[in-house]
């Protein structure tokens, strides 16, 4: 088998969507008889390779094509063009065999039966994936301990909190021990404690079972906490594909100097600095190390400003991503 668990080349997906130029009743009535369509390219010539055992972050702005990519990779959608090889399968043509090898968690969609305890959905999954009694019992025990859901799984799902429900969604996705799991916004809406529990769980399963995870999220702390590598999708194509460390040092020639003042200053003192944000007792100054020496800039700050504390940082990862999204 190839060293890559996922190998995608030239992936493209077009959707034909109905468009209405104007709002209002007349326009609606017109659309009853005459309809204009436009072709929207959700994924455009996307290439992606992911190694076995990775936790790969897949991020991008809304409508960038992340979910469409995940849906094609998981066999839900047929692509317009391109080749996809996941563990030797073409997801949309060999779907029934392929999905036995994957797990999927959609943060915004539940696969649990709403009126019944989660354990009933687990039992249904046992049936669907032909999981042996021994494997099922062992895995339920393992997940119960790891996620602390001993009492949770016997309560009707409608009575569970979002965090508890999400833990049960993970059990559903992992019960049949898939080597590859897609997580589409798995921590959406969760509090910090639940997020932490979910992230620890993902890391533990990745470490102990070698499961590969593909995570799409808007929460950068998920990416920073979980992933070594990140792929950024924008306008349907990959615009960044490297390690988190590389992303953090994306602007290697730019630094942000955070300065705290010992007393309130007159804003005129900040003239001559490239200020990104400031207040009466602080300022953040951005410098480009190609044009200015860091040492000179710090000397200047000490000389001209009442410095109480000073920190030199790389450009914030959120700023980097914002820059990539907008570029």
């Amino acid at each position: 088998m190839s060293e890559y668990i996922i190998d995608v080349e030239g992936l493209k997906k077009d959707f034909k969507v109905h468009k209405r130029d104007k709002s209002g009743l007349l326009s609606s009535l017109k659309s009853l008889f005459i309809r204009d369509y436009k072709l929207v390219t959700a994924v455009n010539n996307l290439d992606l390779r992911i190694r076995q055992g990775e936790i790969r972050g897949l991020i991008g702005p809304n409508g960038a094509g992340k979910s469409t990519t995940i849906k094609i990779l998981s066999g839900i959608l047929y692509p317009t063009e391109g080749t996809v090889n996941v563990m030797g399968y073409t997801p949309w043509t060999q779907r029934e065999e392929y999905v036995k090898k994957i797990g999927v968690v959609f943060g915004q969609k539940s696969q649990l039966v709403w009126d019944l305890p989660a354990i009933d959905t687990f039992a249904l999954n046992k049936q669907m994936y032909s999981i042996s009694d021994k494997t099922f019992d062992n895995n339920i025990k393992y997940f119960k301990e790891l996620l602390n859901i001993g009492d949770v799984i016997t309560k009707p799902v409608r009575q569970l909190s979002l965090g508890e429900r999400m833990k049960c969604e993970f059990v559903c996705a992992l019960l049949h021990e898939p080597p590859l799991v897609y997580l589409d916004e798995p921590t959406i809406g969760l509090d910090i404690i639940s997020k932490e529990a979910i992230r620890s769980f993902i890391k533990m399963v990745n470490k102990e079972k070698g499961t590969t995870f593909i995570v799409t999220t808007h929460d950068l702390s998920d990416i920073e906490d979980l992933c070594e590598n990140v792929s950024i999708i924008n306008n349907g194509t990959i615009v960044f594909n490297n390690s988190i460390e590389k992303l953090k040092t994306y602007f290697s020639d730019k630094k942000v100097i955070e300065v705290k003042f010992s007393r309130q200053i007159n804003p005129s003192l900040l003239e001559g600095f490239k200020v990104t944000s400031s207040g009466p007792y602080f300022v953040n100054i951005e410098i480009e190390t190609i044009n200015t020496s860091l040492q000179d800039e710090i000397s200047k700050i000490f000389k001209e400003l009442p410095v109480q504390d000073i920190n030199v940082n790389n450009i914030n990862i959120e700023e980097v991503i914002k820059h990539i999204y907008l570029s």
């Binding site: 839900i76 959609f106 969609k109 669907m128």
Partner: protein, 264 residues
């Protein structure tokens, strides 16, 4: 064959879950069953009124027509119990994009849909239909042999195959058009042609009801089997039922490729 067995097991699981769900909301279940029983008695009463106040149906006496109604209730009860939840289920999952979940399971998605239709609440018509049917078989002193029983059972089976085809076709249209509104009512109205003795219709419609839209299989053939009115059209109707199902599956496979899911 193995796939069919797996789907049957899945149907049993889904049915068990529906029963568990019904037991969670006991009052709803009891009320639903009582109302189902009450409503199911309206059909035979209505037919009795129509029959006694009009010229009736040519070729059918009152007892035969009540037996016909009993079979109608019985077969509707079976269809309702096995596939009763399907229209809501399919429309709901496709509109909300939850159909994705079905595509993530190691089964044919249409297989999962067909195995998810169990509805315990439809036990009412099934029981009342069975009661009326047995009562009138005894009352009319019908002599039913093995051949009649076999054709009766085959008609029920092929009727279910036809209804599966109908549901597959319905699901295909939902996949393609997402919101279909009153098409559901239109299709249900078409099905009603199968709820009357076919000899009340024109010759053309009669031919259609035993061939291209073989709705005669639901009530007419089982009733004729019990009344020992067997003829050569029965196997033809069975073949058309299987054909209808086959064609609906082909349409489904084509439409499935057009599935667009819902936005993230």
């Amino acid at each position: 064959m193995l796939k069919l067995l797996k789907l049957f097991k899945l149907f049993i699981w889904n049915s068990k879950m529906d029963i568990s769900r019904s037991m969670e909301y006991r009052f709803d279940f009891i009320l639903g069953t009582v109302i189902g029983l009450a409503f199911s008695s309206i059909g035979p009463i209505l037919q009795y009124l129509i029959f006694t106040q009009t010229k009736g149906f040519p070729g059918w006496n009152l007892e035969q027509i009540i037996l016909f109604q009993g079979i109608l209730l019985f077969t509707s009860g079976i269809k309702g119990m096995i596939f009763g939840s399907l229209p809501y289920f399919v429309t709901g999952i496709v509109r909300k994009g939850d159909f994705d979940r079905l595509l993530l399971k190691p089964y044919s998605p249409i297989g999962i849909i067909l195995a998810s239709g169990f509805r315990l609440n439809n036990i009412g018509p099934l029981l009342s239909g069975a009661f009326i049917m047995v009562y009138y078989i005894v009352k009319m002193n019908l002599h039913i042999g093995i051949v009649q029983i076999a054709i009766f059972i085959l008609a029920i089976v092929f009727g279910l195959i036809l209804f599966m085809g109908y549901e597959v076709l319905y699901s295909s249209i939902v996949i393609k058009l997402v919101q279909i509104g009153r098409l559901d009512e239109l299709m249900n109205s078409l099905l009603r042609f199968g709820e009357f003795p076919i000899n009340i219709f024109s010759k053309t419609l009669q031919t259609a009801l035993i061939t291209v839209i073989p709705f005669a299989v639901w009530v007419n053939i089982p009733a004729n089997a019990l009344l020992n009115r067997l003829d050569y059209t029965i196997p033809i109707t069975f073949v058309f039922c299987a054909l209808f199902f086959y064609v609906s599956l082909k349409i489904w496979n084509q439409f499935l490729k057009k599935y667009t899911s819902a936005g993230g």
